[in-house]
Symmetry: C2
Subunit: 156 residues, 2 copies
C-alpha cells in the first residue's frame, strides 16, 4: 500500500472540504465529514489535526465551528496533504529499504525506481485539491465506497 489509511482518509476528507468550499461553504464540522464519508469521527479528528498543525487547515470550536482550508483549494497540492500525514519519505526511500541509497550509492534497483518515484511525486505535486474536487463533481465520482460527489452535495 502506497499511502497509510490515515493519509487516504485525510485525502478523502480534504476533497470533501474542497467540494464544500466550491459550494461557498468553506467551514464544515468534522462530524459532517465523518458521517458522509463513513469514517470514524475520532480517528478523522486526529488526522485533520495534523493538517491543522501543518497550517493547511484552520479550526474553530463551539457551535457552528468546524474546519476549513487556510488557502484556496486551487492553490493546495495533494502532496501537501500527503506530506502532512505520511511525510515525504515515500519520495526519498529506496524501494529495497536500504539507508543511504541514492545516486552516489545506488542499490541494484535504484535507477529504475528513481524514475517511477519521481513520476509519483510529480503526480501529487501537479494535482490541486480543487482540480480533483471539480472533476469529481463533474463526473459524479465516488469519495467513499458507496457515496458519489452528487450524493454528498444534494444531502449537504
Amino acid at each position: 500500500m502506497l499511502l497509510s489509511k490515515a493519509c487516504i482518509y485525510g485525502i478523502r476528507a480534504s476533497l470533501y472540504v474542497a467540494a464544500m468550499h466550491e459550494q461557498k461553504r468553506p467551514f464544515v464540522p468534522i462530524r459532517e465529514v465523518s458521517d458522509k464519508l463513513e469514517l470514524s469521527f475520532h480517528f478523522l479528528t486526529k488526522i485533520l489535526q495534523q493538517l491543522t498543525a501543518a497550517g493547511l487547515m484552520k479550526s474553530y470550536k463551539g457551535p457552528n465551528g468546524g474546519i476549513a482550508f487556510t488557502r484556496e483549494p486551487k492553490d493546495i497540492k495533494l502532496i501537501e496533504v500527503v506530506s502532512a500525514i505520511d511525510g515525504l519519505d515515500l519520495f526519498k526511500e529506496c524501494v529495497l529499504g536500504l539507508p543511504g541509497c541514492g545516486h552516489k550509492q545506488p542499490c541494484p534497483f535504484h535507477d529504475k525506481w528513481a524514475t517511477t518515484r519521481e513520476a509519483i511525486e510529480i503526480m501529487f505535486n501537479a494535482t490541486s485539491l480543487e482540480e480533483l474536487a471539480t472533476k469529481g463533481k463533474r463526473m459524479n465520482l465516488r469519495l467513499s465506497a458507496e457515496i458519489t460527489m452528487d450524493d454528498l452535495l444534494k444531502t449537504a
Copy 2:
C-alpha cells in the same frame, strides 16, 4: 512504503541467491543469506517459505541443505517475488483505497494513478533477478546497508 519489510527482505535474499547462482553455487543455506544480509534468520526462513510455496524456490533439509531457484534467475521476474509475498493488490488498488474503483467507477484520482501504477507494474515485470544481480556485481552495489556485492562474493 510501497513494499512490506517481508517483501523487501525477500527481494534482497533473492538477489543474493541469484548472484550465487551465477557463481555456479545455486544452493545456499538460509543461515548464510541471513548472516550476509544481516537479516533475522527465522524471519527470513518464513519469507523464503513463501517463495518455496509459490514454486519459485526449492529447498532441501539436512547438511549441505539450502534453497535454490527452480528456474534460471534470468527467467524470473521481480514481480513474481513481490506477488508471492505481498500479492498483486498493489497493482490493482485504488490510491484512495476505494473498493471497486476502476475504469467504470473511477475515483477522482483514478486516471492519473492508473497510469503510474501501470508504470510500476511494468518495471517489476520487465526486470529479471539475473539482470539486477549482474548489474549489482558489475557496479559493486549494496544489498544490505553495509555490504556490497563484491564483499558478499569474496567472503562467500
